[in-house]
Symmetry: C2
Subunit: 341 residues, 2 copies
DNA sequence: ATTCGAATTGCAATCGATTGCATTAATAAA
DNA sequence: TTTATTAATGCAATCGATTGCAATTCGAAT
């Protein structure tokens, strides 16, 4: 069975005895074309079941109306929220979104970047992987003036729009809140410092202690990879400390959760004996017992903002853009894991 | 500043004083070309910073090496897991993945379908939205022999590969388990029946009751849209029933959760007074109190399988394919919300 | 009826890679 | 050396929409 041939603008042109260019213009609502012919063309186009061949148009115009997105892992609440926000805006503006996951591997990130380039995406949004310490694959874009926007896990060295959450402020607010609940000795389960976000959270934590007149004790700042079991190990260590903390700021909700579980198992009351605040507002945080106080990151909104920025840049390629770093506000959500009375 | 011109195969050809076709063949490892010239060509291609213009190639070959994915909402654990699995396989096989969310709106689903078609994606993977009751927009693909694969929320009426989880069996196992825990009257918070998955879950529930010698009482099967507040409304209704159920099979974890919250608030013990099983194994289910017994769906694996199927179909477009419906196994995870003793 | 300007429409090149077919070069066989 | 084969390479059309520029049409004004 031979594939049914798709109708092209030439088919329409032939049928109406006009030029293909007129058809093209009419279908694109070019004001040059008179309303009457335009109407006629659209009518026959519909009758003939015409579907534009975007590939051909893309090829000619060198635009794909496609935004490439690279994230470490799609299946992660924060990232999928951001992607959802990106798609939301992109769709409204007539852009498609192509998504790839780096799995935190530099090699894959590199290959993805090349592939996106070969596909001539109009712009790239990226949150870099844990391994990414060289950036040649990203220069690919900046060199050719393909808009590049970073979010969350950014690269300081590259000039581009960047969207981050206010991790410093988040860490600050979380810690201040714990102090406000009467905590005298606040520990920190921290993330790997090579990622800017965790560094900032820790800095916020330290600043809050300083501002509250509390000492910073390195021995109760535990660096981990922030997985469930890392949290358990960290909280165990903290509870064995000769000077036990009475509150903990965890750099994510996962470790906050494993801490809570460990504490409850060992008869230590949360929040009365040890108050806890996490980070990210994972879906589970609201519904566990006790519910986890945390810092909300507006993932969906971030995604929307990111998409807006890149589309704006795409539509004004010629203009020299003033790069900005947008810091999204964080919000402290006070729940039961830190509420003392 | 004029954009730096990208080098094309013609540039390479000119430089080496050979034909563009030879360059093209060499770069595609066509055996017609001698190894020596092939090597030479690749070398200069690299030197000149050649990047293939996939758009041009796509246009000529009518293939995009792109798979379109339509889901109701990206930011949903099950869907993002599936997408993650799809991307995993697709990437390995040299396909890009374009993702759109229908937001459960038929209108948007329709527009997305047309857009994917215009972009000439090689295949489409879809899980239909709640509103989707007509399928003209999907016929677009089947008519033009563009491979279409359904997962989870499938359309019975269209011939295509389909990948579903064994919802019937899931519902069956959940209900049987509740009966096994001593339940005499098992209610069901059900989903909208126009979606096959919820229908199957309900059928499994009914079959389990039959097999257990229990009556099916329509008045304790509540149909909802399965959001948080729907669950609350449903459980309220069930608890006001003159013959209260002592166990509930919820068609998703969300309503299971809101049921539990409602029950606890009203001093009704879970699982002792009312035992509960959900569906989907959302991340929160494991960590709430009591932890929610549920049915695990292998999202990532499903995504991988889905991608394999569609790529296979894309690569064998000519062959008449025998459509199959693959049923992924479900697993009952017994946790505290249903464990009596 | 002419002229002129504006409003429409048509012509034809173009984008970059691919590919069927023709051609040339290289090698082997006679 | 000549011919027959095979191996490499080149030619040129092609995909479908877009777009600068040329050509035509249409009214209105003279």
């Amino acid at each position: 069975m031979s594939q049914k041939q798709e109708t092209t603008i030439h088919d329409i042109a032939k049928k109406l005895n006009i030029a293909a260019s007129t058809v093209s213009r009419a279908l694109n609502d070019n004001p040059l074309i008179s309303e009457s012919t335009s109407k006629k063309i659209k009518k026959t186009a519909k009758e003939m079941g015409y579907r534009p061949n975007t590939m051909a148009a893309n090829f000619r115009t060198k635009r794909t109306n496609t935004i490439g997105v690279i994230v470490p892992l799609i299946n992660r609440h924060f990232f999928s929220s951001v992607i959802s926000g990106i798609e939301d805006i992109a769709y409204q503006q007539g852009f498609a979104v192509t998504i790839s996951q780096s799995n935190d591997k530099l090699e894959k990130e590199d290959k993805i970047a090349h592939s996106l380039f070969s596909n001539r995406v109009d712009g790239v949004i990226i949150s870099i992987g844990m391994e990414t310490k060289s950036f040649d694959h990203l220069k690919l874009f900046s060199e050719r003036k393909i808009p590049l926007v970073f979010f969350d896990r950014i690269v300081e060295e590259i000039k581009a729009h960047k969207i981050v959450v206010n991790d410093f402020n988040g860490g600050y607010k979380a810690t201040k809140h714990l102090v406000g609940q009467g905590a005298k000795r606040v520990a920190h389960i921290a993330g790997p410092l090579n990622l800017n976000i965790y560094k900032k959270r820790q800095e916020g934590y330290c600043q809050a202690l300083k501002d509250s007149g509390l000492e910073i004790d390195e021995s109760i700042i535990i660096h981990t990879n922030l997985r469930r079991e890392d949290g358990t190990r960290a909280i165990k260590k903290l509870m064995q400390h000769k000077k036990r903390p009475d509150a903990i700021f965890c750099a994510n909700d996962t470790t906050a959760l494993s801490s809570i579980i460990y504490l409850q198992k060992n008869g230590i009351k949360v929040p009365d004996d040890v108050a806890i605040v996490g980070f990210s507002n994972e879906p589970f945080s609201e519904v566990v017992t006790p519910s986890i106080s945390t810092i909300r990151q507006p993932g969906f909104t971030m995604g929307q903002k990111t998409a807006e920025l890149i589309i704006n840049q795409i539509n004004n390629r010629n203009l020299e853009t003033e790069f900005e770093t947008i810091t999204m506000p964080t919000e402290l959500i006070i729940r039961n894991s830190s509420k003392r009375n």
